[in-house]
Symmetry: none
Subunit: 218 residues, 4 copies
DNA sequence: GATGAATGAGGGTTCATTCAT
DNA sequence: GATGAATGAACCCTCATTCAT
């Protein structure tokens, strides 16, 4: 938003221009797709929320599905970018692993669109991911980070050996992802509001302790 | 299906009758809803799959949403029933906990409609669950089982203390649920077919080891 | 209702039997058709209101339209019967005419289904009336009564001459019918509840005075 | 229709454009609603008759009921506009009243959609009128005109006193409205075609004479 | 006579998409 | 680039009617 202001200098108040419209559509689409899914989202709603003409969806993105794909790609680029920022080399194995666990959990908390978007994409059997060479080539550095950290921990005698980095990655992600993806049904079943801050903090602490405990040497 | 054959003896081939139609609609609906979600499912498709007239959906269930709710209620009744069958009292704490973990994971494997149905219901903010007094009163015995088993294990010195049964339940469920709910995107990202039997077996083994390890005393 | 009680003696509490079902269907149909019209009425609603099985509508009357026609015929038979009861011969012309005017107005008041049923039938261009030889042969004695009374009044010098009995009949009917047929829009436009008793009484008085005044000799 | 021709000069033959579509839909809707009523009218039929795409009904009016309301509002605006054109001040009381009576009768004759539309709206208990602030604030000047004319006539000794303008308005309207609203059943009952010109002329003459006679002083 | 189950033909409405400036 | 107007394909649901005891 601030970037557009600098670029489009001719109309300072009435924000228009191609980049601005694209940006607003993407933001609105991310919001609506994450709340309603691909099928449940309405092109009209996205256009209305973005404040730009509905036709521009087709002008910029071709159709609804391609807009959806564009959102997915951006979302993946963002998380990969964040993952790359993680600097674990200077940390001791346990601290590094803890940071990894926290990052994974906190990412879901701080980016609430992420979990439902992935959930919806899985409902569609990841068809869009498969079609996106962009995303497929966007390898997550996390698995390798986990592998390295594990090795260092095993060497230092603080982690047990025999753990597969991919399985561990899925476990770490699942401990947080499931909490958020199923937060509504779980809240009903347990009769508590799991979206409330204290509940999230409690879950976060549990996940860290639980995962680190699972890594202790025999 | 086989049950009806035994009961309705008068018309062995031309399967009709209210119970049969309801049953077939529920089965087809479960199938379609789990694959397409509430919004993506077509009443036409459910009727065609069930082999009964489309309008019977409205005759028996009122509308699409109520059919969806009926499916959800049945699905919850089934898992609760299965959970109640679990007999852990005669097992040592670790074996009991292992059985619990296995049951949770295997239920997702054996009932492939379960994970996507819950995923979709969460996309709708669990609105149907909230409206269903039936489901809300269908308390899961699992949390209490976990609590009891934990206590026994702590007393026996084989589990660490301080674990909240609800958090542990969420963790155990999440370790399996996430694997299945995100199986398509994970398969793409990791370039493996996680639905394949060996992959599932590997995941199952990992989850059991991971969770049990996390419970070991300090 | 009281008639059925005497006829069906075997089941004094659970009223059933062919005549009873027919009767209840006709009563319910009259009620619903007068409130919703032929197109707006639902066979389900009529059956539910009558308390008999929907199928019996078809058993007894063939289809919805024929049930509608049966209602219309009964309604016409009733008003003709009432009209025949009018005994004006022994009254002086003005009193006779006043009685005629009152009867016409009061019939609409006392039989609230009559006006909307006729209104609906006119929406259908009186197609059912045309098809009903029963109704077409059910000549109203009113026009003749009006003619006779007019003649007596003219001879007695209390009515002006040159009035066509049919036109006068339409006028007398219209003065009351329109009030009831348009009672809802008129109530909105004038901001008064014309269905309230005082409003009806006021209208009744006006109609009598107005019509009698119109008949005075020049 | 002729107006558009003058304004839109660029496409003289292929009439399109928003105003044109709206106009054609309203005209077709008025026609169909007046013949079939709200419930009996088919959106398909209205679209076909208007020659525009069916979905434009929803684009311009939202839904069927709102289209119906738009028709009603336009119909009321038209009659109110016509009523306002009446200039009675320069006429003697009797001539003024005669003009009022004629106008009321002739309006029904010249606008054959008016009577059935009001009839249908009354079948719906004037729900749409109630919801329309537009119509409710569209006060008819007729009642006041009648009141003024009555007063002038009483002062001049040509009308009797004690007449309520609203009651008189209802009477004048009813004398013509009923003839048209029930023209089909009346035609059947009396075995004449009341829609034929001579019949209408006869009725018109009767109404004028009848109403004026009713106003004569005692 | 009476009843629940089943069916076919629409009907109103939604929605992604395209047209035409 | 941007916009309002227009369109066709579905989709959910209703309802009169018939079937089958």
């Amino acid at each position: 938003m601030t970037i557009e202001d600098q670029v489009v200098k001719k109309r300072p108040t009435v924000k228009r221009g191609p980049e601005h419209s694209r940006r607003r559509l993407l933001d609105a689409a991310r919001d609506v797709f994450s709340k309603k899914g691909l099928g449940g989202a309405r092109v009209d709603e996205i256009a209305a929320l973005s404040g730009v003409n509905k036709q521009l969806v087709y002008y910029y993105f071709g159709n609804k599905k391609d807009l959806y794909l564009a959102v997915l790609e951006e979302v993946y680029e963002e998380i990969r970018e964040q993952e790359r920022q993680l600097d674990l080399a200077h940390l001791a194995p346990i601290e590094a692993m803890e940071k990894l666990i926290e990052f994974t959990f906190d990412y879901f908390t701080d980016n609430p669109h992420f979990v439902p978007l992935l959930g919806d994409e899985n409902l569609h059997k990841a068809q869009h991911l498969k079609d996106s060479t962009v995303i497929r080539e966007l390898h997550s550095p996390l698995v390798e980070m986990i592998g390295t950290t594990l090795e260092r921990g095993v060497a230092a005698g603080v982690f047990r050996s025999g753990l597969d980095p991919i399985q561990l990655y899925i476990s770490l992600a699942g401990l947080g992802f499931f909490y958020y993806s199923n937060i509504h049904t779980l809240s009903v079943i347990f009769g508590r509001d799991l979206k409330a801050k204290p509940a999230v903090a409690e879950r976060r602490a549990h996940v860290i302790k639980f995962a680190l405990s699972a890594l202790r040497p025999a």
